[in-house]
């Protein structure tokens, strides 16, 4: 598993770590029961403070992505596919709602929004 953090204002470092580990778990790169680097090993590798990696792992555990076992380490928790799908759908909804809000501000009609969505999807297909 690779984790790359940016110091250039891409959000707090602990949040970057959480995002990347979540993505790896959701995509299957990190399968269930896979062991994560220890909090301290990760801090050393990324050259950041122990408190930062501790916070990232604590948040991940609270969000249901990993389990930490005292004396053993941190492991990926088996993810419920239905729950993952639920999360993805919610995120899509949030993005769509943001687009709708922006359209309202700019007085862009719904038909234009639909056309834009179709064009983007088509462009995406052309890339594949």
């Amino acid at each position: 598993m690779n984790i790359t953090i940016s110091n250039q204002a891409e959000g707090p470092i602990y949040a970057q770590i959480e995002t990347q580990i979540k993505a790896a778990i959701v995509s299957g790169t990190l399968p269930a029961a896979a062991q994560l680097p220890s909090i301290r090993a990760l801090a050393r590798d990324l050259q950041i403070s122990v408190i930062t990696t501790t916070r990232a792992y604590r948040d991940l555990e609270a969000a249901g992505f990993i389990d930490t076992v005292p004396g053993k380490g941190a492991f990926v928790r088996a993810q419920d596919p239905a729950l993952l799908q639920e999360r993805v759908l919610t995120r899509i909804e949030d993005h769509l709602q943001a687009a709708i809000d922006d359209a309202a501000l700019g007085q862009v009609p719904a038909s234009t929004l639909h056309d834009m969505l179709d064009d983007l999807l088509k462009a995406g297909d052309d890339h594949d």
Binding site: P12, Q47, S49
Partner: protein, 289 residues
């Protein structure tokens, strides 16, 4: 959580300078940066912890034992401005002396650290560059089973690469979770990424002691136009800089988020220290330990 350093009301009074009262705690397994301008009292605090400066008030515990009660010398590793061994000694001489003087001397670890830091075994201390001298002192301090490192401005005058090497060694030192480092410095960039805890000294007073992130989260870097610079903002601003095209300042987070029409960003440790040193006051209402 075990605390390796715990001070309560620690005070050292000199004729024209008083340090304290200092209340700080450093749990096992972490790095604490002791920061502040020259003359703020950092060296005095370290000397007090080492029993080199008598207290005029309060007390402290080191590694769970009251200070003043002899903690084994081996448990505390020290790097001060003067080396603890002879100026003519070589790394090899130190190994011989430490093997005789410390039952828990880890020769293999010492040698591998020296190799990693490119410190020659047979060169006299006084003939080494300052950077190599500090690397040798640190390697020696980490080799006799210490659980606590007390370092007084080890990075002053060193180039960036050497400072980075030293920071890496400190992270290795705390890796097992049972050892800690208290490092004083006024070169804040060294600590910005790896330090867990911060103690900020200003004219002998401890203005903050706690998690670095808590310290930083209490402030924001704010930039705005002349219209946003109300008397209230001026009052709360730390390190205010006005130019022909606007102003920038660090503000306590509550004051910052209450403003409209300004750019509001997280504050870096170095920027915050510069602003505070330039004459801002730490806002005690915003900072909770």
């Amino acid at each position: 959580m075990t605390e390796l350093i715990h001070t309560h009301g620690l005070t050292v009074s000199h004729r024209d300078f008083t340090l304290g009262p200092i209340d700080l705690a450093l749990p096992a397994g972490y790095i604490m940066g002791l920061v502040g301008a020259n003359g703020a009292g950092k060296t005095t605090l370290l000397k007090a912890l080492l029993g080199l400066a008598p207290l005029d008030g309060g007390g402290f515990d080191l590694l769970g034992r009251p200070g003043g009660v002899a903690t084994t010398r081996a448990a505390i590793g020290v790097v001060l401005d003067q080396p603890l061994f002879g100026e003519t000694w070589t790394a090899k001489d130190i190994a011989r002396a430490y093997a005789a003087g410390y039952p828990g001397f880890d020769k293999a670890g010492y040698v591998s650290r020296l190799n990693r830091l490119a410190v020659p075994m047979a060169t006299r201390f006084q003939r080494m560059s300052r950077g190599t001298q500090v690397k040798l002192q640190l390697a020696a301090a980490m080799s006799h089973g210490a659980k606590l490192l007390l370092l007084d401005e080890p990075t002053a005058g060193l180039d960036a690469a050497t400072r980075a090497d030293l920071m890496g060694e400190l992270q290795a030192f705390i890796a097992a979770g049972d050892a800690s480092v208290l490092i004083s410095t006024h070169i804040v960039e060294d600590l910005e990424e790896i330090v867990d805890y911060l103690a900020y000294l200003d004219h002998g007073r401890l203005q903050f002691s706690g998690e670095r992130d808590v310290f930083l989260a209490a402030y924001r870097q704010v930039k705005g136009g002349a219209a946003a610079l109300s008397p209230l903002v001026r009052e709360a601003a730390i390190g205010l800089r006005e130019t022909a095209v606007g102003w920038t300042a660090i503000l306590p987070v509550d004051a910052a988020t209450a403003l409209d029409g300004v750019v509001c960003e997280p504050v870096g440790l170095n920027a915050l220290m510069v602003a505070l040193e330039r004459g801002g006051q730490v806002n005690e209402n915003s900072v909770e330990n």
